[in-house]
Structure formats: C-alpha cells, structure tokens
C-alpha cells in the first residue's frame, strides 16, 4: 500500500495521496497570478500564501474537461510531488491516475510518457473517476448490489455512467456540458450586471457560489417567495465581500447585525437559479437534457431487467454534489420520472469530492490488481501505444 500513489486528477482540484493514507490531499489544479504579488505566481496550494486574492488570474491545465495545457499541468504536478507539497516521490511507485471519459488518444499517450519518463513510475494504472466510484460503492459491504449509476458532477461537465454487473455500459454514458465552471461563470455574469462588476473575480465568485447557492426543492414556490419583501422573503441574503485587509473570505451577513464596513451585495433568486442549470441547461441556451432527464435517458440504453437495481443505486459524486438540496431534488424528480413499481434511491456520499479517490484504495486491495497495471517492462517493450492496448481494448 505504501508504494501505490492515487492521483484523481480533476480539472479544478487534484486529489492525491498514498494508498496507505486515510484521506487524500486536495490541491487546486491550476496556477494563479495575483495583481498584488508581481514577483511570483501561485502554484496549486501555494494560494494559501496569497494575501490579496482580488483579480486572480487562472492558468488551467484543462479545457472543456480535457488535459490540453501540458506546461501548466507539468508545473503543477512538479509542485504536487515536490517536498514543499505532499512530498511523494513517484519513482519506483505504482500510480493510479484518473482521466475523463472518452479521453483522446494523444492525451493518453502523453500521460503515459510523462509518468514513465519524467516521474519514473514503476507501473501505471489509468482509469476514470466514475470507475473508481463504482468500485467503491459496489465493494462497500452495506450495499449488496452489482449495478449502479454514477453521476459525476465535476468542474467541466457532468457525466452519467451506468454499471451493470460491475461492467461499464459505454453506450449508455451521457454527458451534460454543465459543471462548476459554468455555474461560477453564470453567477459572475449575473452579479456583474445586477450589482457590482465582478467579471475579474472568479475566485471570489466561486466562494460566493459555495456559500449561498442551493438547489431549490420546489422551483415555482421559491420563485414566488423571492418576489416578496424581506421578512416573508426567506431567500434573500446579504453577502459581505472580502476586502483582503480585514476580511479575507466573504460571508453571509446575519439579518439583524450592524452594517459592516465592507461592500455587500444582496443575493436573491440567483441563489437557486444558478444551480438550476444542472437540471435545466436550456435556461442559458445549452440545448441538452437536465440531470434527471439524462439519467432516465441513460437508463433506456441499459438492459431492462436491471433497471430497478440501477434506480436504487444512484451515486452522486463530484464538487457540485456539495450544493445543499441536490439529493432531495434529484430524488423527487427521478421519483416522478421513474416507473412507479420501482424504488428510487439517490445517494450523496459523505465526501463526494474524495469518493473516487477512496475507490482507488479499494482497487489496490483487489487480488488481480497486479495484473491490471501497465508495468515499466511492458512500456519499454512496446512504447506509449501499450497503454492504449492495455486500458482501452
């Protein structure tokens, strides 16, 4: 266990740690440049050293969910595996790394080359975060099932992946191009038009999203509530923006307290219309199904005898699963769409962000793990093509 490293390489956070550890380290997978600090850039978790995060400029390795900016990624990985960060020396270790579904061949080749040549790994196992989540869910003792649907709500997009008897049904995978990034950008646009221009403040708006947004359990009712005046309007909240001298992170102001010195904005219907994009992407003109409809659509591509098992094992992972109310809303919508003789159970895992990483730990314990990996000998024999033969037959 000490010689296996698991890297769930997300587009927004990388989850990394040895299989012997209890939990992964969460590291922002990006390089950030601040206006206030012109001598250096902040790589990954170095951002905690930054005192003034206003107008933060992002360099992201991922574009549309795929690893495209290799120089950025290499710099971040160099930092992650350096003694300053988590200090894992990859040489002579086995690495489990995640990639998006339907990853492109040249990206897979590059991954293989980098980890064998640069970081001198002993062996490599390339998989998807949903595969690890499914393994984690199916192997955990409390659920005696062999089928499940993984809903992975990430930063770049949301994937719905059904597993039947432990096997992924590739034909039934559905992708919705809405993720945390779209939500943040949408909220940023709304705030910039209605309140203050915050188009440069992705970092702050992301925190606002995490602090105030929720998934509405009854959209029409909440739409009516938000039109009322304050005491009856239970939705409106005043948010205190950080000024980076006395307040480093924004917070929701208590209704009765005195007015703070910092700037505040009043957030009303944006609190729930923003996460609503996951359920209705057409609200901003993305002509795709919402999550619940897409789950039913994916189900249609699965063999009918297992439909009832799949509906009882819907596991939601990824950063957007943390938005309050997500589970309840999915449960009610799916209950309405599913056949009435079948049970529906939506499971939001305890730690949706680290759930796939924990699945990596489960994977290490399986007996045939040593046969699944691509070893250094195989790589040296056949080159980068070997990884594609091994993991995507």
């Amino acid at each position: 266990m000490n010689n296996i490293c698991i890297l769930d390489n997300g587009a927004y956070t990388a989850k990394v740690g040895l299989a012997s550890q209890e939990a992964p380290q969460l590291i922002p997978n990006c390089i950030m440049k601040a206006k206030s600090e012109r001598r250096r850039a902040f790589i990954g978790d170095q951002i905690k050293e930054c005192r003034d995060a206003s107008g933060l400029f992002y360099l992201l390795p991922f574009q549309r969910g795929y690893l495209l900016n290799w120089d950025t990624q290499k710099t971040v990985w160099d930092h992650i595996f350096s003694p300053d960060c988590c200090g894992i020396n990859l040489s002579e270790k086995t690495l489990i790394i995640t990639e998006p579904h339907f990853n492109f061949h040249s990206i897979q080749e590059a991954l293989t080359e980098i980890f064998f040549e640069e970081y001198e790994c002993d062996a490599l196992f390339r998989t998807t975060a949903a595969d690890l989540s499914a393994l984690h869910h199916l192997k955990s003792n409390t659920v005696p099932a062999d089928c499940c649907i993984i809903v992975d709500m990430g930063y770049s997009f949301t994937h719905i992946v059904p597993y039947v008897k432990g096997e992924k049904i590739k034909n039934a995978i559905r992708r919705i191009d809405v993720g945390g990034k779209v939500l943040t950008n949408h909220l940023k646009e709304i705030i910039s038009y209605r309140h203050l221009n915050m188009m440069d403040e992705s970092y702050v708006v992301n925190q606002i999203k995490e602090d105030v947004c929720f998934v509405s359990s009854d959209f029409q009712r909440d739409m009516k509530t938000q039109k009322l005046r304050y005491p009856e309007n239970t939705i409106i909240q005043e948010y205190v923006l950080p000024d980076f001298t006395t307040v480093n992170r924004g917070y929701v102001k208590k209704p009765e307290g005195p007015a703070p010195e910092q700037q505040t904005i009043k957030l009303n219907n944006e609190r729930f219309t923003v996460p609503e994009l996951l359920f209705n992407p057409s609200d901003v003109g993305i002509q795709q199904m919402g999550v619940s409809e897409a789950i039913m659509n994916a189900l249609d591509s699965c063999p009918p005898p297992v439909h009832h098992v799949l509906l009882e094992n819907i596991v939601v992972t990824g950063g957007c699963a943390l938005i309050p109310g997500m589970g309840e809303r999915l449960q009610t919508e799916l209950r309405a769409l599913a056949p009435d003789d079948m049970e529906v159970k939506v499971i939001i895992t305890e730690d949706p962000v680290a759930f796939p990483w924990q699945g990596g730990r489960v994977l290490c314990q399986s007996t045939d793990f040593s046969e699944m990996i691509l070893t250094r000998e195989e790589y040296e024999e056949e080159g980068v093509g070997a990884s594609i033969e091994k993991f995507d037959p």
């Binding site: 290799w70 492109f104 994937h159 038009y193 795709q288």
Partner: protein, 154 residues
C-alpha cells in the same frame, strides 16, 4: 399633413431590429463566455521573468544533475500542442462508431425551454422587440433598454 402621424409608429420604424442571425451570434457568444477561464488580461503580462537566474535557496549541484534528466514543461507543451478541435477531429478518425465523445452528449430536452427576465431573473412573459432578450415588466424593460439593448452589438 405629416404632423398628424403617430409619433410612436414613426419612432418604431427608426429603431434598429436585430435579425435572427445576429441574435444567434449573441447567444453563441454568451455560451462561449460561460466556458472562459478569465475575463481580464494576465496581470503579469508586461513582466519579463527570468527563470535562469538561480535563487538563494537553490542548491546548485542537485539542480544540475536533475536538469540533464528532466525535459521540463516546455518540451511537453511543444510535443503535445493540440487544441480541442484538433483532438476532436483526431478522435473522429480513431473512434468513428459510437460510443465516443460526440455520441455521449445528452440529447436536447423534451421539455420546453423556460424563460427568465434578463434583468431581475423572475419568470418572463415578454420579449424585447429590438434584440430578443426576455424581460418581465415595464420597469425591467426600461433598465434593459438603458443598459444592454443594442449597446454591445458586435
């Protein structure tokens, strides 16, 4: 007899109205904006950084042995420089049959699109005649015309 004409009709004829193509262009731009990483320029763009200069805490000897072995970030950028469109084209050649990236995309919803006021966010019943943006009340239409309508037509 020009003075007896309705001023409202005369004004309405002078107004510029965006055609369907321009409206679609606007919608596409709004969607692209949702995918953007940054809306401002690199704050360090005008700085000239010299990476070669050794820093105080750098250990000279260990630095030298490592450099010969490692290829560095630049090498990988040069070798795997491909944008998303190129990769998608390549993928179409590799995996022409579904399941692939394109087939996995969720199909359009069967439910009708909902409309929200572009100004206040409430449910909207009306469309701006000039640009096609949705609004909910005369008050919001006024705000829209003063701030956004045809103001940034590109």
């Amino acid at each position: 007899m020009t003075s007896r004409e309705s001023h409202r009709i005369k004004d309405a004829e002078k107004k510029r109205v965006l055609d369907e193509a321009a409206r679609q262009r606007r919608a596409r731009k709004a969607l692209e904006a949702l995918e953007q990483d940054n809306f401002h320029d690199d704050p360090h763009a005008d700085l000239v950084m010299s990476k070669k200069v050794p820093k105080f805490h750098d250990n000279l000897e260990s630095g030298r042995t490592r450099k010969t072995k490692r290829k560095g970030a630049e090498y990988y950028r040069a070798k795997y420089r491909k944008n998303f469109i190129q990769l998608l084209e390549e993928d179409k050649a590799h995996r022409p049959d579904p399941p692939n990236y394109c087939s996995a995309q969720a199909p359009p919803s069967r439910l009708p699109q909902r409309h929200f006021c572009a100004v206040c966010g409430s449910c909207s019943n009306y469309t701006c005649t000039a640009c096609g943006t949705r609004y909910c009340s005369v008050k919001c239409l006024g705000t829209h015309q003063d701030t956004r309508c045809l103001k940034w037509t590109a």
